[in-house]
Amino acid sequence: MAPGEVVQSVLEPAGPHAAAIRHLWLLMLWTSVAVFVAVLVLAGAALVFGIRARRHGGPPHGSEHLLGKAVGGAVVLTCIVLIGLLVASVWTGRHVASLRADGAVTVSVTGHQWWWEVEYEDVRPSRRALTANELHVPLHRSVVIKVTSRDVIHSLWIPNLQGKRDLIPGYTTAIWLQADQPGRFRGQCAEFCGLQHAHMAFDVVAEPDAEFEGWLERLRQPAQPPAGEVAQHGLELFSTRRCASCHTIRGTEAAGQVAPDLTHVASRLTLGSGTLPNTPSHRRAWIADPQKPKPGNQMPPNPLPEEEMSALGAYLDTLR
């Protein structure tokens, strides 16, 4: 898959669940096309017969008795088609909601206005790993995603992998998915959640098991101590300015709880929950004025002097 290409489509499934739903879609689509054409042909024929009867006089077309039989037949046919679709729907529903649970990866996703908190669970609490706006999933393994919300209702949707599930405060629910094709799939919030509903996206990276485990292991580590004086200055700025009141960088004093964990921020694909590609220059621009690309989000502008910005930027660049 070419880098930078965005994949967010119901019609290109990359896993068994989305594939099953696509099959249902195709069945429904072609059934609907057939019904649509049939109804319009009947209506067209009725129109032609009706107009002819008026123009040429003579008796109207069709006896009441025959028409009654025809209408009855059409209704019976409708019922049969609908029952068929109902069965297909329930059958697909069973398929989509069931998955083997052994060896499954469990991830908790918590919705915030307007970003996603992602935590990989582990039986050993110390091995839990925290990140934001990005999910990595191993190929051919089940993934259980437990969802809830900290503020308003959001909805987690990765169309290439699975249908959506609402993140409702006060409720925790779970969906299953599995990726069978490697690649980067985009997901987006699908329940209106306020000002920046439009910019609440995330990425799902499907990769072979080994790569996934490596990524997860890196995610568990605290941040590397800053190498060099500039980066050290950057960390000091981060801890003493207001950054640390909202953000956490594990392994440092910064332990704010209301905004995304930045321990490995430089390794992520996007900034601002899918708003910008995560490049060093975008990171600096985002810190200076996050309200420009994503107006209304909770992070205030930080007009830092040039020298401080480059120190802070240099430090964040090391957080891989």
Binding site: S9, L40, A43, A46, A53
Partner: protein
């Protein structure tokens, strides 16, 4: 009651018209209670809101035409899409259909007035003031911005601290009070004021549709009024119905809202299908095929419509068994709709069809509505729903259903009944242009949205990234809006110009239709029928034998109305109807003060109820028994007064 053939002499007719006319001048306009006046006001006002809501839609389409378009920021976009949805649902679709009902139901059942005319006048003022309130708020940058569904917690004061969500909640109260009042009046009109002979199985299909809709209004609207009142209480006095932090429940709102919200769709569509039945009948020049099946379909649609609200909540993670039930129910509702479609086709098949302007819209309805119904079946399937829910696919679906199922029949109704309301025919040639522009524009706008939804475009986003690839189809959709706008403006021009065109006088019955509204002049006189006809069949003007009796015995100088029995419309008693009065307007003003004030302080409910009480006392002030009163003769089992007996005194509704 005396029934025999009679023809009304002229001076009598003048007296009759004077009796029923609304008073002239400014004060008369404030006191008007003629159902045709109120109905016309409803139609014109609702159409004005349709234009406003359409303008908002056009602005949204321009914003979405290209990625990152800076025209509207998120704050304004959220106000615009919320106001668009709220307007189309509460200020256009429901009121415009009820407006048609107010105007035509009494005419179609051969009555001289709608039941409770003052209540209907009050409902109009409430509807108008509610709409003005919403748009004033929008102009003051206080337009609601949490969606027409207003989901908590987003609509709770923690996340929506300004007054915007309160404006939405109170608008709901305004419009629901109005539509409940109309529903009560329409049901009573049909059940008690039908002309003799119009038994239950002779009621015109459109009237049945209005009755069914009115019952749905009575059962659905209280759910949303309850919900919006609870939301206001959460916001105003700190109750915790939906407040998750305080053990409230966010999902409770969704159940209450959609218990109203789904029937709402049928409240809009069922009158539309009544219009289709009526117009197909007239232009096929035969009785509706399968009348009984069509009426029973309407009734069963109404019942089923209350049993499928959960299909708006398939993504919330409800238990699978429950979801399957609602899938089955949602798919099942296609059956009564299918029955109606087949009956309409059979009617044309065996009729003598002429394709005049109203019929054109019906044919457009077939194409668009069937497509929308089929995507509806797709959305009923849980797995597919979880992919398509809250995407542009759903936007496409419900515009196909609502514009196809209600707006196209409505335009058919406009072309069909415009001559009855004004006395002038609309231009047939321009009508074809209006239809062509709207039909093409509609499909150009909304068909691409199916594809956009499948390609992952969610609803209610104010912009999107260029790399999403949604740009071209959005441009197409925006282009379609331009065509639709041209069509609607041409229609407005046509409606205003019809009076000036030569030879456009309609006469009483320009289409050769068979229902009773065509038996009186165009426009109908105050009081509708100088000598009400009785009904000798489903289409009385086609079926009545030449010596069909008319109703007499109603005094020309008094607002006398004949009240009949529910089932067979046998004469029961005559009743004096209330006179025009400014009190409904004054009561509406007082109620408006209460509703608007309660956004700011709970005390407005206490102090605001005093003027409401005073104006209602004025409205219901009992009149002397010698004036006739309005209650029927008090002795059970008797329909006519004993010699010299006066009726009980009563207030006037």
């Amino acid at each position: 009651m005396n029934l025999h053939v009679a023809s009304a002499p002229d001076p009598k007719r003048l007296a009759f018209e004077r009796t029923w006319a609304d008073p002239p001048g400014w004060r008369g306009r404030c006191a008007a209670i003629d159902h045709k006046t109120i109905g016309r006001r409803y139609l014109v006002t609702a159409f004005a809101f349709f234009l406003l809501g359409g303008a908002l839609a056009a602005v949204m389409r321009v914003q979405l035409a290209r990625p990152g378009h800076p025209l509207l920021g998120p704050d304004l976009y959220n106000q615009v899409f919320t106001t668009h949805g709220t307007t189309m649902m509460f200020l256009f679709a429901v009121p415009v259909m009820q407006g048609l009902g107010i105007y035509f139901v009494p005419l179609m059942v051969g009555a001289r007035s709608i039941a409770f005319p003052r209540l209907v006048a009050y409902s109009y003022w409430m509807f108008l003031f509610g709409g003005l309130f919403l748009y004033t708020s929008l102009l003051l940058n206080a337009g609601p911005d949490v969606g027409w569904f207003s989901y908590p917690p987003l609509a709770e004061s923690l996340y929506a601290p300004s007054k915007r969500a309160d404006v939405w909640a109170q608008l709901i109260t305004f419009t629901e009070v109005a539509s409940l009042a109309v529903a009560v009046a329409l049901v009573t009109t049909v059940f008690k004021l039908r002309t003799p002979g119009m038994t239950l199985n002779r009621i015109p299909a459109f009237v049945w549709a209005q009755v069914v809709t009115s019952f749905m209004v009575m059962f659905a609207m209280p759910a949303v009024m309850l919900a919006s009142t609870a939301l206001i209480l959460d916001r105003l006095v700190g109750t915790h119905f939906f407040d998750v932090e305080q053990a409230g429940d966010a999902l409770l709102w969704q159940h209450l809202f959609w218990f109203f919200g789904h029937p709402e769709v049928y409240i809009i569509f069922i009158p539309g299908s009544g219009l289709v039945s009526t117009i197909v009948t007239t232009f096929s020049r035969r009785h509706l095929f399968g009348y009984l099946a069509v009426v029973l379909s309407l009734v069963s649609t109404a019942f089923m419509g209350f049993g499928l609200w959960v299909h708006h909540m398939f993504a919330t993670g409800l238990p699978q068994l429950g979801e399957s039930f609602f899938t089955a129910a949602s798919i099942m509702i296609a059956i009564p709709t299918g029955i109606q479609i087949f009956c309409w086709i059979a009617t044309m098949w065996s009729g003598r069809v002429s394709v005049k302007a109203p019929m054109l819209w019906i044919l457009g309805f077939f194409a668009i509505f069937v497509a929308g119904g089929l995507t509806g079946v797709m959305l009923a399937a849980v797995p597919l729903n979880t992919q398509l829910h809250d995407t542009f696919f759903v936007v496409a679906h419900f515009h196909y259903v609502l514009i196809g199922g209600a707006v196209f029949p409505l335009f058919a109704g406009f072309y069909y009944w415009y001559p009855k309301i004004t006395g002038y025919l609309l231009s047939e040639r321009r009508g074809r242009w209006v239809f062509g522009l709207l039909f093409t524009g509609f499909n150009l706008t909304f068909f691409p949205m199916h594809v956009l939804g499948l390609h992952g475009m969610p609803r209610r986003i104010y912009t999107y990234l260029p790399e999403m690839g949604w740009g071209p189809l959005n441009v197409l959709a925006t282009g379609g809006v331009l065509l639709m706008a041209c069509g609607v403006l041409l229609f407005v021009f046509d409606a205003l110009a019809a009076r000036a065109s030569v030879g456009a006088e309609a006469g009483d019955d320009p289409w050769g239709a068979g229902t009773l509204e065509w038996a009186t002049s165009s426009p109908p006189p105050p009081g509708n029928f100088p000598s009400p006809l009785t009904a000798g069949g489903r289409e009385p003007l086609w079926d009545n034998p030449p010596d069909q009796p008319v109703v007499v015995g109603l005094r020309p100088g008094v607002r006398d109305v004949l009240v009949t029995h529910v089932l067979d419309a046998e004469p029961d008693h005559r009743q004096k109807f209330p006179d025009p009065s400014p009190w409904p307007l004054l009561t509406a003003i007082a109620t408006t003060g209460l509703f608007v004030g309660s956004i700011f302080t709970p005390w407005a409910v206490v102090w605001g109820s005093i003027p409401v009480f005073i104006t209602m006392v004025g409205w219901f002030w009992p009149r002397s028994a010698s004036d006739g009163g309005t209650r029927p003769w008090p002795v059970a089992g008797r329909t006519l007064p004993a010699p010299g007996e006066l009726p009980a005194a009563g207030g006037a509704i």
